[in-house]
Each structure stands twice: as C-alpha cells, then as structure tokens.
Symmetry: D2
Subunit: 273 residues, 4 copies
C-alpha cells in the first residue's frame, strides 16, 4: 500500500494517545491554550458581539490513558464559535466531555467586549473595551462557572488631594472582578454588565473613549469630588456585589497605575455566601 493510501485511511495509523501511559498518574487537565479564535458572544440582554477570544479547552485524563486527542478540542470551538454565551456554557462543556469521553471538561474564553458609552455631558457615543473571561468546569453533572471583568477606571488619591494646596494625583486603574456563579441561580440574568457597573460606581470616575471639552470638565471634577484609594474601591465593589444571591463567591482586585510612580498599587478582597 502506498503512503498516499495510508493517508486516506486514518484507522490504519496507530493511535498513540490511546495507549497506556508509562506512569499511571491521573492528570487534572490536558488540552489546548492560546488558541485565538473569532467568536460571537450572546449576552443576556439579547445583544450579540463579534470579538476575538483567547481560548483554552481541556479535559481530565485518567491514570490509564496516555493522552488527549487535541484536534477534537479545536473542532469543538469551531462548531461553537458563533454561539458563545454564559447560559449555554454548560452545554459547550458537556459536548466537550462527550467528544473526549472524559470525566471532566474545562473551558476558558478571554475576550474584549466593546460596550457603548455616551460622554456624560455631550452624549457622544463610542466603545470602551472591557476584558472579560468566562471560565467553567463540568464533572458529571456538577458545574462551576465563573465570570471575570477587568474594567478600566480613573482613581484620584485622597491623600494627595488632602495634603496638597491644589491638585491631586490621579491615574488610570483597573478593577478586576471575578465571581463564581451559583449553579442553581445561574440561569438568571447575571451578566458582565452588572460587574462593569459596580466597578465604575466604585471608582473616582468611569473611563470613556470620547470626551469633548464639557465632558472632560465634568469627568475631571467628578474624580476630584470622589477621591478613592485602591483599598476604598475594593471595598465598594465588594459592598455592591456581595448581597447578590446569584454570586456564590467573589474576588476583587483593584490596580492603580500610579501617576507618581512606575509601579502599581493594588488591593484585593474575597467573599463567599
């Protein structure tokens, strides 16, 4: 039989991944990472967003199985890439576990979501990028699902304002919020927007992509009127979200890209219902 003939008959090529491993050690995960793929994200408000994701997909590997057929993971995301949503993420994971015949399946999608924001005075609209993550795991019927956002904000230092005769240092910062969804409640409408709003409320001022002069005046004065340390912002976010029954546990990580230093300041807190 010619090489060409072999190539057309997959079954004749040995399946090395299906062999027993030399060391019978179970693996938490084996899969693919850093796959960039175009996706369409469907939000609970009915909107859909074309964006680009960094994709990781994996499955657990039993102690008697050598390896994973990685190509099936890419086929899975190709089949699903136009219908990504929080609500259907469990279905994606179930499909993944089935295709690989594995006990557990895991997936992480990282992508920017572009939310339209209107300038506060003139109302001019433009998109602000919000880095989002959907992360999930399915073991049998047990589902975990986590959402994260990284929201750019402005923060103005309360100490600098108080000790100076005029001015106050302020800077770009980011509010990262990661929440584990309650599996029972998770079919209800918690979405990225809820987290973004909490981040923007807690900061000295939200960030916009277009600001005309009256808007710039408004934002400058709003930040000066709402000074906040990273510690303050972290607490405010936790306070705004920890009553939400759809969230089982949450983690807040606020970073200030200090304008007076070349390093950052940060604070974190965690809660669990």
């Amino acid at each position: 039989m010619t090489a060409a003939a072999v190539q057309t008959i997959p079954g004749l090529l040995p399946d090395i991944q299906a062999e027993a491993p030399q060391l019978p050690i179970a693996l938490d995960e084996a899969g693919i990472s850093d796959l960039r793929y175009p996706i369409t994200v469907h939000l609970t408000d009915g909107s859909h967003h074309h964006t680009v994701a960094n994709v990781s997909l994996s499955v657990s590997v039993a102690a008697d199985s050598r390896g994973v057929h990685m190509s099936r993971l890419v086929e899975l995301i190709h089949d699903w890439h136009r219908r990504i949503s929080v609500l259907r993420f469990a279905d994606l994971l179930a499909d993944l576990a089935g295709r690989l015949d594995s006990d557990s399946a895991y997936g992480t999608l990282r992508f920017p979501l572009f939310l339209e924001r209107s300038a506060p005075v003139t109302g001019v609209g433009a998109y602000v990028p919000i880095d989002c993550v959907i992360r999930g795991g399915l073991t049998g019927s047990e589902l975990t699902c986590a959402l994260s956002v990284r929201v750019p904000v402005q923060s103005l230092c309360p100490c600098s304002r108080e000790i100076s005769d005029y001015g106050a240092h302020n800077q770009r910062g980011s509010v990262e919020i990661a929440v584990d969804l309650d599996p029972v409640a998770h079919t209800t409408a918690l979405d990225f927007e809820t987290l973004v709003v909490a981040a923007e409320q807690a900061a000295s001022a939200p960030i916009f992509s277009v600001l005309k002069r009256p808007d710039e005046r408004h934002v400058t004065m709003r930040a000066y009127e709402n000074p906040a340390f990273v510690e303050d912002i972290t607490r405010s976010v936790a306070d705004l979200l920890r009553k939400d029954t759809r969230i089982r546990s949450g983690h807040v990580h606020v970073v200030n890209e200090e304008s007076i230093h070349s390093h950052n300041a940060y604070a974190t807190t965690t809660w669990r219902r």
Copy 2:
C-alpha cells in the same frame, strides 16, 4: 451662569489646544495609540471579517499650533469602524486630515485576520490567525500605504537533518512581510492573502489549527522534505514577491522560535523596485 450651564455650551470653555505653543517646533505626529476597537475589514475578494483592532491615528502639527483635538480621532474611527479596507484607506485618511485641518494624516490598524484553512488530507476546516497591519499616510494628495502580515509557519533545520542519523529539529516560526504599495497600482487587487501564500510556500510547512492523524503524518513528512533556514525562507519570500509590480518596496523578517534554544533566529531582507 451655573456650572451646568457652562457645561452645555462648549464654546464658552477655552480652547487650550488652539493656543500658540511656547516652543514653535513642528511635530511629525500627534494623536492616539493603543485604542482597541471592533472593526469590520472588507477584503478585495468581497469577503468581510469582524475582528478587533489596535488603532493609532495622528496628524502633523504645525509650529504655531499647540495641540490636537484628540477626541476627533476617536470619533473618526467610530464612524469608519465597519468599513475598513485597503482600497478606502486613503478616504479615511483624507477625512482625518480634514477633521483636524492638518497637512498630514496617519493611521495604523493592527488586527488578526482569521483565514479558513483545510487540513491537507482530511480537509477538516478551521481558522488560522494572521496578524495584519494596514498603515498609511496622506500629505496633500500624496499617499503612502503599507500592508504587513505575520504568518505562523513551521521550519525544519537543514543542518540538523543533515548531521543527524534520524530526526531534525523543527519549530514554530513567523514570517513577517511588509510591503509599500505602489500608489498608482494600489487600486488593483493586492491583498493580505497574496502575502500569506508567499510566506506559507517559503516555509518548510504551513501551520493549521486542526490536523487529524493523516494530516499530521502529511505535515510532518512535508516539513522533513523541505528543510529551510531562516535565511532560506527570507530569500524565498523575496523571490516570490519582488516581481510583483503592485509592490514598490518590501521587507521580510523571518523568525524561528528555535526548539533547541530559548532564543530565536532571524533573517531580514529588503527590496525596492
């Protein structure tokens, strides 16, 4: 008059950017960079692609003008973001120069383009990300326009193959091709695909997102049959493209992420018609 009243009357706020600068020095460019924005790219084959761009836009600043009204640059990309193409990039730049009343306008859009590739034996399809750049400048009616691609490829070392009894080290590499389009010819159909094909032909083997076993066999053997140093790949790309009359000048930069080192090997060449 109240603050709120001032805020609704932009004309009453002083226009600091329009002042004369303290130092009468002309600036090559002033503008915005690292603006992430959703875009739709229209290719010359009629296809359109939703993706995410990193956007820079700028204008020249005369020696008697203090600064640029940056918000207008964001408004411009918002107006244009669904109709990005090589053919209309001159129009985008003319619009930019007009809005800012500047002699020169510049724009750079960097974005991944997802091209569908079929596995060589089984034909299974999936997207491969190609990093692309459109860069242009317009001064009066003089237009420059450059396209770049960064194409992931596989390269197999000819030396390693020759000096070893079996095997040969191979690795992921990238072929970066940047070409200045001839302004007269540039309305014809040169497109990213032409550059991508040259890169893939010059390498030991193209890269795919899905490969089933017969495909993996095919690609492994193809790479072994086509060993190529970074120097070889660089020359092949130049040879394939330097006859193209639509290209005024070209630059090739091939990088091998050497599997036997943690540093890279690279080669570059340049041509001009």
Copy 3:
C-alpha cells in the same frame, strides 16, 4: 506657616490612610505590584546571582483601617534587595509585617536566574534563563513559602514520530513547576536547581544557549529517541518530585508551543503529601 515649612514637617500633614474606612470590610491584601528592582539572589549552594525582579509586596488590612502606607513597602525592598534568598524570605516577611503593623504579610519576587549549561559534546558554556518565583506569606508565626520555575525544554511528538515514515514534529516548550515547601523541612536545601533538573529530565531534551554542530547532532538525536507528549512530561515531573519530603504540595504545568499549530498544548497535575 509657609507651604515650605509644612513640607519639612511630615507630622503636620494629615494621615489619611490611618483613618477609619467608610465600609468596615477587611482586605486580604493591599500593597504594590510590578515594581522592577535590581536584586541579588543567594542560592543554597552558596552562589549569588545579580538579576532583575518584578516585585509585589502586600499586607492584610483590618476592617477598621483605611489603607496601607505604600512607601514603606518600597523602602523594605530597597533595604533587602541585595540579600534575597529562600532561607531568609521569612525574615523579610516578618520585617514587612512589623513595619506596617499588620497581621499578615505577603511577597512575590519573579526574576530570571541565569544557570550556566555546557553543550553536551563540545562542553562550550553559556547561560540559560530560567524564570523563577519566590512567593511567601506570614500570618503570625505561620509561614507559607512556594517556589516556581519555568524551564524551557524541547519536546518531540510520539504520535508524529510513529505515524510518519521520517521526521517528527518537535518544538520549544516550557515546564512550570510550583511547589509549596514544607515549613518544617524548609530550612534544608531544596532549591530552584532541583526543580530545573526534574524538568530537563522529563522533557525530550534540555535546551542550551550554545550548541556547536556535534552538540546539535547529539540534541537532535536525543530528542528523537525520547518522544514525549505534554501529558508524558507532566507525569514524569510529578513522579520525580512527589517523593521529595521537603515538598508539601506541587503543581506541574507543561506547555508545548506546537510547531504545527499556532496554539499551544498543555497538561497539568497536582499532588499533596
């Protein structure tokens, strides 16, 4: 009193961080991150290494304390930057907790360590960069200390080798090993080198910075003789290290920068004594 006079009398400026916060929520951590600093690392073999670290330092914040005096964290690393070691990391953390009067102190130092490696045949020497992390936490007298390495290696695909008549795809990969040190045993000599050696043994071949032709032949053939999936490498590392009584728990994360794809393959496993 003049502004200049105030500036020379720190005590007269209000201490905003010492105020009570509006929301009495305890914070896990508040501190600094992404501070780049020159450091000298002292290893257990008596050698010392000048390198550059990315530094994070933080303390816990009680519910009745508004914020952290961040400048003290920079002063601490300045005082310690020439005497960084695993053995004295607890002392650094105790000093940190003391200066900030906090219940808990945390520190993370990320830095490349340059280990000399001799080419396998010719013996020519050069440095290979190993990304290392020391991470620790101290709450009262309770210490946690973790070491991580990210070791560049070569891996050669067993499937590709088996199904092809000649050749086999191989690539640069990285083996990340993170271990929690046993607090009792941690004064003994576990060091980065132990982890690096395990990573290099588990891979198809180690990576070198200089290879002359006879070395390249040796490494090419060694990799071909030792094909290993990411799953195989992950298991081998765990097998080599899980008996080490100085390690309380370990996590292995192997990534292959697949030469036939532009995405990566990975596998992970975890153990606990």
Copy 4:
C-alpha cells in the same frame, strides 16, 4: 567510525551553512534575537550596573553564502557580557564581524538601568527603572551608534486644569528619546543620564519609587504648576537636546497613559543636525 567518534570530530560533520544558497539574494541581516542574558553596563561616569538584557546580534549575508553560524553570536555575547558600554560597542561589533567574516555587523541590547532617585523633600532614596537601548552597526570602518531611553514621567493636562473649577487629570506617561550619536564626537561623554534628565525636565513632574507624605505633596503641586500636553513635552525634549553637538539626529516619542481613557495620547518629532 562510531557515532560517538563523529561527535568528537566537528570537522567531519558537513557545514550546511557554508553552502551556496539556492537563491543568490543578499540578506541585510541574519542572527539571533530575544536572547536574555545577564550583563554589566559600564557608564561614562565610571559606575557599573548589573542588569538583564534582551540581546539581538546579526551580520549581513552575501548572496553566495547560505547561512550564518548562529552559535558564534551567543559565544560573542558570553565573552562580552561583563563589559558592555557605549564607548566599547564599536569593538564588540568589530569582534562580531571578524568572527563571522561578514561585511556588516549589528547589535541591539535592551535593558533596564536602575538609577537612584532621592525623594524631593525627605531625600529618601530608591531605584527608578529606565528602559535603555544601545543599538549599533558597523560596515567596514563606518559606525552607527544609537542610544534610546524610555523614561516614566507624570503629565498633567493643561486643558483639563483650565476648564475645570478644581483638579486636573494627570497620568503616568513615558518619554522615549532615541539619538544617533555623531561618530566623531561619540567618544565623548553622552550617556543615558543626559537623555533621562531632558525627559524629566520636560514632563509635569518626574517619577519616584519612594515618596513620603511631604514628597507626595511636593510632587502633586509641582505637576499642577507644570501642566503639559504630550505635544508640549515632545517639543521641550527636542528643544533641550537639539543643540547637543554629540547628537547627529534625534527622535522623541511621548506617550500619555490617559487617566480618563483606556487608550493613549502620543506625539513625535525628529531633528537632524
């Protein structure tokens, strides 16, 4: 003869790089990049600094030579890594051209330099990282040598200050200055520090790693008193440096990480003596 015997006799292995290439096209450069290496930088003030460099080294390749013996480039940097300086960079390049028997040799070293800065009121000292680049080329006896710095600074927006009743948005920015040294004058003492001082003078305020409260008050008020657009900072740097006869040409690129946006503002200018 056994394989082991071959391995000990390099001369017996074929020299593939020395072959004639299939396509007789000259290459601008072929070499290595992204090699991380420990280096010691010797400044013209007599100080020396241990740091970590990202190294690129290359040579031109004639049309009748297939490839470069890359291992020699790593051997070169290993031999030179403890004696890096602007004054001796020409010697390093001459050594490189000689070892590879090439017409032209090129080298680029990128590294952070840690300069001690004292807080403006309390005088507390700590290091500030400055990203530096030495880049050079040698063709025969013709030398080009360029220095770059990227200096973190604070900038405060003049427009925001003017149109607001209180406060003004400010942010971290960076001033990148790249200068080609005059080859005749280049043995005199132009050094990174000259460029850093120009950047810090042009900004609203320099950046420090440690600021106690009186320092923070000082810096906050200094920035408010010195508002500057990216356009203003760019012009100031050019004005400060363009009279320097040691500089043949210069390029300034100022970036503001706008605290009110998640994109940046930038300006550039170029001069030539």
